[in-house]
Assembly symmetry: C2
């Protein structure tokens, strides 16, 4: 690919429109908000406490997440269904830990149709209870098992401190709910769906994750154990990006979900639940974006490429537009990534012909995270070339490149695939560079001083007391006990806080 | 296609499982409920007033509706977004007609996070108010217009009388909301989206509709005018299947959505909204289904074909299964219908290898509305043929047919397309056979006596008084004032009730 600057392609930074983006260095939380605002992903709802409005560019990312994950859920045998958004208040109290975990966060409907309700309803904070109720009606025998359903829905948790995408009172998510004949089958499901989440995070979001098990104090309210994927944000904080719970027979008992076993006995079903939410978009933003704004891996990008016409006369304008539309049509016909069974993604290209300066367009599309920018002027047309600039310099392209139109089109999907792989590689490198292995409490305190955080592999004595003490003293939590193959090889040692024996290191960090 | 019966294919009706389906003749409302239950589309929630649980087979139909319509919305320039499910109660009161229409049906959240709220929220019954609020923040100039957004969401209206899919307190829908610089642009949008709904209903749902305008008393609360598509159910009742509203500047004024015009003046935006809901599934059921259960047009069918293995020995079983999987794979690779831009549907085939009698399987899949049933036994294998039975006898196939495997696969998509067209033709014929033109009040009373209903084209004097009088006396409402090309040619006449002059006939019926 020849590189040859051309005076018709202006330098960066011209025609600034929109607001300022803080640097990550100067003010990370502000940077996060600025990136969201400037990419027009969402805005705080303001008139509804802790809610946000998901704007078209943000919602389009959610649609990408939905369609890819939905195909994975269906490929693993799950079917979508829909359960009521309102849950009788008494349902929430049927599982002891569950009510303790969720009661403080409930939004309650007390009146409807102009009358006070006999029993209030709560807006679902999660649906284990009401789905448990229907499972008890649908399941009679081992022949009805496994029952594998998933729901795409809005849920509400009245959180005190909210942050767009990461924690909002209302959020969008999917919640898988399954029932099995044996604990073994349930555990296999928990692992399978954790695997789906981990694969999706890395393959599609290019977001590396650590897979592990939550400690007893961090698990889902009502679960025996919770598995999770944890991602490292650029400020060193951890983001719990997806969870998969072994509910054991807790909800089966609470909602009397009994079945006749193959041997003819009666038993309670073994249930699981698993979910990811619009929080993933927060993780996506904080994994890849830079001080210039949003960065999107191609498989998460609602728009893959923007073509900016460059011209000085109406004649040139007309000629460039014809070429731009021709290139758009050629790219749009390509398949993106190997299509998986029952899911096909499409390449989206925008020709930005608005009557504003090219520099302003460059600036805007950069902030919106479009992976590929194509500039097209009369000299390019004459040479049969396009001027290409990738959103981030990587092996998929760096700086402005001049490539023949035919070669550009022929290599476009390969370029996207390389860019996707490069973003994952860069994110992995950042994670590895930040991961630390700590052995003394002094090191620990220094590592987590003030607002500082990172992924720290430390020994822990396995007690809730030590865990609580560490959290109280440093705000650091145990993100997970890693699965085999995740983190350092399991070796015994001594707890970083108590000095008592520890079977292996666990992942510690401050978290969103 | 040779037709040759084979003794290995059993007769219908064997191995009945599941409940009874009432005949339409004997008890139409019961038939409707029975079809839903036996096809496992949904069930009444019971513990949540007026709600339903949408079961996997029903939700899969909703997904078909969503994906096809969503591609049409995007192709007409709309983008999806998401707004909060809770609306400050005061918002609802800002548009006078709107509050009058919706206040009696609101569900109200008065407590959240363990505290009483200062201002209650309502669960959205529709989102004109809250979206109007954000439009006022987003729109400054004519350059921001048109603003074209759509939301897929759940909404809640506390209805007294509910019926699965047709009217439930919570339902799923999409609501388009657009803002325009001129009334002309708004009206064009209203017509465009009515066109999308009409095309979708007929092309995809195979449900013929009459397109028209609502009378002032039937329009949306807060609109200047409402356009609608009306479908005729098999009991002669009308179903309002989709609406598209010209909101004029009503919500623009209520939420101060002003913009600078190209001439530099300030004006309120012209808004539209339009929606269809899970109610469409009720319409789909009542358009095509018969006394044997659900009938689905292929473009609405989550499963297009089921293959039932027929065998007497384990050897035969193994051989038949290999062939069944081969046929499934070949069919699954086919494209269904011409793929429209940015949307691809997939063919879904089930090989039903459950250890139950073939007759029981036939019965079950028939009730679930699967368009094509394939029986496959060792004799078929020997002859290289399959035994095909369509869900309904039409030009796409009637009775059991024996077709070579190669021909069956090669003609499969054509067979589906013919079946799709045939279901629309049959529904159109039923509609035409039922449509009547009435000129005297005696005829009218006889036509609508008791529970009777049909599509009746009658003259009306254009007054709300006469409309109300007809409704009070007969429960018949004016479904719409038809658009050009819909219904009989517009000719003046005299009102069927008042005898006063009428410019043209309107569509009257009892309605769901």
């Amino acid at each position: 690919m020849a590189k040859k600057p051309s005076d018709e392609h202006e330098q960066e930074g011209g025609g600034k429109i929109g607001g300022k983006i803080a640097t990550r260095e100067a003010d990370y939380p502000q940077w996060y908000q600025d990136v969201i605002r400037e990419a027009e992903l969402a805005e705080p709802a303001k008139v509804v406490k802790g809610c946000m409005v998901i704007k078209p560019h943000g919602y389009a990312i959610w649609e990408k997440i939905q369609r890819d994950l939905d195909a994975r859920f269906k490929a693993t045998g799950h079917k979508n269904a829909y359960f009521p958004v309102l849950i009788p208040q008494s349902f929430i109290t049927k599982e002891a830990e569950h009510v303790e975990g969720f009661a403080p966060e409930l939004a309650v409907v007390t009146h409807a149709g102009g009358e006070k309700l006999e029993e209030p309803y709560v807006i679902r904070p999660t649906s284990e209870t009401i789905i448990g109720y229907y499972f008890s009606k649908w399941i009679e025998s081992y022949r009805d098992l496994p029952l594998l359903v998933n729901q795409w829905a809005n849920v509400m948790r009245w959180e005190k401190r909210t942050r767009m995408f990461l924690r909002t009172t209302e959020f969008l998510w999917q919640e898988g709910h399954t029932a099995h004949a044996t604990h073994e089958d349930g555990l296999a499901e928990v692992q399978r769906m954790l695997g789906v989440y981990g694969d999706f995070a890395e393959e599609v979001m290019a977001m590396p994750v650590i897979r592990g098990e939550k400690t007893a104090s961090e698990k889902f309210a009502g679960a025996l154990t919770s598995m999770c994927i944890e991602a490292l944000m650029q400020d060193g904080k951890a983001l719990q990006a997806g969870t998969s719970h072994d509910l054991g027979q807790n909800f089966g008992r609470a909602f009397d979900v009994q079945f006749q076993t193959e041997a003819g006995a009666l038993d309670y079903v073994w249930q699981t639940s698993w979910g990811v939410s619009t929080r993933l978009i927060g993780g996506l933003i904080m994994t890849h974006s830079d001080d210039a704004g949003l960065v999107l891996p191609p498989r998460m990008a609602p728009i893959h490429a923007v073509i900016v016409p460059i011209f000085r006369s109406e004649e040139e304008h007309a000629a460039v537009l014809v070429a731009a539309e021709r290139i758009k049509a050629a790219l749009s016909d390509l398949d993106i990534a190997p299509p998986r069974a029952r899911y096909r993604d499409f390449i989206e290209v925008v020709v930005d012909d608005r009557p504003i300066r090219p520099g302003a367009k460059f600036y805007e599309w950069e902030r919106r995270g479009v992976p590929v920018r194509i500039e097209l002027g009369p000299k390019d047309l004459a040479k049969g070339q396009v001027c290409v600039k990738m959103r981030v310099d990587t092996a998929a392209g760096s700086g402005k490149e001049f490539v023949s139109e035919a070669e550009f089109i022929a290599t476009f999907t390969a370029r996207l695939a390389t860019f996707q792989a490069e973003l994952l590689r860069l994110a992995r490198e950042r994670m590895r560079a930040r991961e630390v292995t700590l052995d003394t409490w002094d090191e620990f305190l220094a590592t987590f001083a003030g607002d500082k955080s990172t992924f720290a592999w430390c020994h822990w004595d396995g007690t809730a007391e030590t865990e609580a003490r560490i959290k109280e003293e440093t705000k650091v939590t145990i993100r997970c006990i890693p699965l085999p193959g995740q983190g350092p090889d399991p070796q015994p040692g001594v707890c970083i806080r108590s000095g008592r024996p520890s079977p292996r290191r666990v992942l510690m960090a401050k978290a969103y």
